[in-house]
């Protein structure tokens, strides 16, 4: 008789998960959507969660009732030249080395986790898959900032939006600017590309900006709408 984890009754699955270490439960949740929902349903209690950021390493740990910290995973940058990092899973499991990309990566999916720092609203995205693990922070991207009220921020926001469209449509930034400025709808579905980006990454103001471009509203209206200018 074959043995499969999901053939067990839920009570049995829950008991097995409760016997596992936190890092293993976390790894288990990455196996599939079904395993993730199983982990969620098992309602494993997490007493206290720590996200520790140091100069060249970040870690997520869980503190138990006795005050002992258990590492769920740890990222350590060990080569500034190659931008390579190590991933430590749990207390004794070290993943392979891989290149750490410093350029923005916009990703989505069930294994993507968006986090927001409460103190200043800065955001980061964490993507974990079986073969790799990536964390993308966007500390200098005003388009993702909750507040964007001056002209400089507005310019940067527009620039970033153009870059995102260019990246998505796989065309150059210059071409993208031309297409946006001329309100052209070229051979690819430009509006679909815009909507895709809006859904994923663009804040409300940039969304309105793009809609304004689509509706061919002039730049004064855009500036007023986005509050780029003080007046």
């Amino acid at each position: 008789m074959p043995m499969k984890f999901f053939n067990f009754p839920h009570l049995v699955q829950e008991n097995i998960l409760n016997n596992m270490d936190f890092s293993d439960v976390f790894a288990m949740s990455l196996c599939s959507k079904r395993s993730k929902s199983c982990v969620i349903l098992s309602t494993i209690k997490v007493p206290k969660l720590w996200h520790i950021v140091k100069e060249n390493k970040q870690s997520v740990k869980i503190e138990d009732d006795a005050g002992i910290l258990k590492t769920v995973f740890k990222l350590k940058e060990f080569s500034e030249v190659e931008k390579a990092i190590k991933l430590k899973f749990g207390e004794y499991f070290l993943r392979e080395i891989f290149n750490f990309c410093t350029y923005p990566i916009y990703f989505h999916g069930d294994n993507c986790y968006d986090v927001i720092r409460e103190s200043d609203g800065k955001r980061a995205s964490i993507l974990s898959r079986s073969a790799f693990f990536r964390m993308v922070t966007e500390p200098t991207d005003p388009s993702l900032s909750p507040v964007c009220t001056n002209c400089l921020d507005g310019v940067i926001a527009i620039k970033n939006t153009i870059a995102k469209i260019a990246n998505f449509a796989r065309i150059t930034i210059g071409t993208t600017v031309d297409k946006v400025c001329n309100h052209l709808v070229p051979e690819f579905d430009f509006l679909e590309a815009i909507c895709h980006i809006i859904d994923q990454n663009v804040e409300d103001k940039v969304y309105r900006f793009l809609m304004a471009i689509h509706d061919k509203i002039n730049e004064n209206v855009i500036c007023h709408m986005l509050s780029f200018c003080p007046k």
Binding site: M3, K4, F6, F8, F22, D24, C31, S32, R34, C112
Partner: protein, 190 residues
């Protein structure tokens, strides 16, 4: 913790008969049934612990004779153990078991599956918890990819995030059996 006890042959007064799904009868000492909450509650409800009550055989339709023999072996070994208490095991990273338990549970995965279901059905918490810990120890320190291999989980993510290449869907309803890959309970070296 281990207690070696003198073996006592059950007498009609202090035992009940259970019948496995394949019709085989087993004589169970009432002392042994205390470890099974299901049987203990049944005995209490039917007052089988009284000598003047006629004891009908108890059918266990979910348990085969092979599983029943295995369970009786467990019950006999833990006959004089103290009552099981669930400890807080969330933060234990070491999975250490008695030698007898390791030998007892050194069985193929399919037998382990049946034994775990039987322990769940009969509600034998010590056996149930031990098997769960054994299973948890088998996937300790493994990556998600390795856990998929051990527990035969296939990813159900539609497409790869970067490449867009479709990933094989979860075939939980397929007939594929669990991999018999024997992964060591001990974690891999750093």
């Amino acid at each position: 913790m281990s207690c070696e006890e003198p073996t006592t042959s059950p007498t009609p007064e202090n035992n009940i008969t259970v019948v496995s799904s394949d019709g085989k009868e087993f004589l169970l000492d009432l002392k042994l049934t205390e470890q099974s909450e299901t049987l203990a509650r049944l005995i209490s409800n039917f007052e089988y612990d009284r000598t003047d009550v006629k004891k009908d055989p108890v059918p266990l339709g979910n348990i085969t004779s092979a599983q029943m023999q295995k369970i009786i072996e467990w019950l006999q070994h833990h006959r004089y153990y103290p009552k099981w208490e669930q400890n807080d095991i969330h933060y234990s990273t070491s999975f250490t078991f008695e030698t007898w338990v390791e030998e007892y549970l050194n069985i193929p995965n399919n037998e382990m599956f049946e034994l775990l279901n039987a322990a769940n059905y009969l509600n034998i918490p010590r056996l149930f918890s031990t098997i769960c810990r054994i299973m948890a120890s088998r996937i300790t320190g493994k990556s998600a990819e390795q856990i998929r291999t051990v527990l035969n989980i296939k990813t159900d993510v539609k497409n790869d995030v970067y490449t867009g290449i479709p990933i094989q869907e979860d075939s939980s309803s397929s007939e594929d059996g669990m991999s018999e890959i024997s992964l060591s309970p001990s974690p891999p070296p750093i």
